[in-house]
Amino acid sequence: MKYPSSLLQLIRELSRWPGIGPKSAQKLAFYLFEQPQEDIERIARLLLSAKEELHLCPQCFNVTDKELCEVCSDATRAQNQICVVEDPGDVLAIERSGEYRGLYHVLHGAISPMHGVGPDKLYIKQLLTRVTPDHEVILATSTTVEGEATSMYLQRQLAPTNATVSRIAYGLPVGGALEYADEVTLGRAISGRQKIK
């Protein structure tokens, strides 16, 4: 039996999406088929309008549907703090934490020579032009080898700007038992301990 080609194409397309393997793609396709017509139309419109309305903020390179993104155009946020992250999703995560009220800068990746990603492929130049001596730049790239390398590279590049540079804390994730932390993290948690006044 040949499967209906529109179904096959849909399955093939879905299986290319990140994190969706061949089995899930088939399940998804049947799921979508069983949704009412108007839902499918809504999904299609959502996809198109998301693509159409969204672009990168010219200042922080986060995803936005405004000319300047909502963070960059919010005068109540600390204008002298820039939190540097790898991906737009990281902005979302930090915002959800509610602990940060400054600006962002999205690099759109991390330096990874093995994958052919050099500093020039990231929005690093644009960061350097934003930073003045009054700024605090918070390096919030991930703590993977690539994230650390990117963080180190940025420290060097930011030195001439005379801005304050800081790195997010290493330590124990909240809610964890010590036995589940690896020794490197544990070492960092000990050496980075905080005095309780």
Binding site: P18, P22, E146
Partner: protein, 229 residues
């Protein structure tokens, strides 16, 4: 965005269960050997498909700072049902162990991949599986840069240490047929070699085993192979 999921299509060379209950699988692809782990050896539909000699497409999830990717989805592309026959199974095991032994990590080996896939198909259907294994073993070694040399095309000795067919009286003495086979095996096509099976192969097996032991190390399947020959 970096992708942590990768789809890989290949042939299962080996699977083994760790003391921990996880299953580690070696996969041969045109781009080298990949290893993945399937957690806990539970017969998820995935692990069931991760059987020896099978052609599968797997989704590998690469975690931070772990070299073994996690096998998250498995699609069976093809299974050859006759490889478990007593006269074939040790031969298929031998070829897969050989390739698993020699291929290390990522390398461009489309020819080796095609040869192994062809060898398994041949073993599955050909009525002289022993000849298939013998021919394909030499071809596989050649594709991996381990072809023996021919010092003298008329030579009737095989010097395993130097890996040469020679006329000097050293190493394994060959029949005329076997000497001719060894002189020509890397220049002839598989089809041509298959069309001219050689009735007497004892010395060729000796050459093959000695050559592999010297240049690649001991394979565990030799023992079983000998016991069923």
């Amino acid at each position: 965005m970096r992708e942590r999921y990768k789809n890989i299509s290949g042939i299962i060379l080996r699977r083994s269960t760790t003391p921990n209950g996880d299953m580690i699988v070696s996969l041969l692809t045109p781009r080298g050997k990949f290893k993945g782990v399937s957690r806990k050896a539970a017969p998820s539909p995935s692990t069931l498909k991760l059987n020896l000699f099978q052609h599968v497409t797997v989704q590998i999830y690469h975690r931070q700072q772990e070299d073994l990717g996690l096998l998250t989805q498995v699609k069976l592309e093809g299974a050859l049902s006759q490889l478990v026959k007593p006269e074939v199974y040790p031969l298929a095991s031998f070829l897969c162990e050989l390739v698993d032994h020699v291929v290390v990590g990522e390398m461009d080996i489309p020819q080796t991949y095609d040869l192994l896939a062809g060898a398994l198909r041949g073993l599955n259907s050909h009525d002289d599986p022993e000849w298939v294994a013998l021919v394909m073993a030499f071809k596989l070694l050649g594709s991996l840069g381990m072809a023996h040399r021919t010092e003298d095309p008329q030579g009737t000795f095989f010097d395993a240490d130097r890996g040469v067919l020679t006329s000097k009286n050293s190493g394994i003495r060959l029949s005329a047929d076997s000497a001719a086979f060894l002189a020509s095996v890397h220049n002839r096509t598989v089809r041509d070699l298959m069309e001219h099976p050689q009735p007497n192969r004892k010395d060729l097996w000796m050459v093959l085993e000695k050559f592999i032991v010297t240049h690649a190390g001991i394979l565990k399947s030799f023992e079983v192979l000998r016991s069923v020959q």
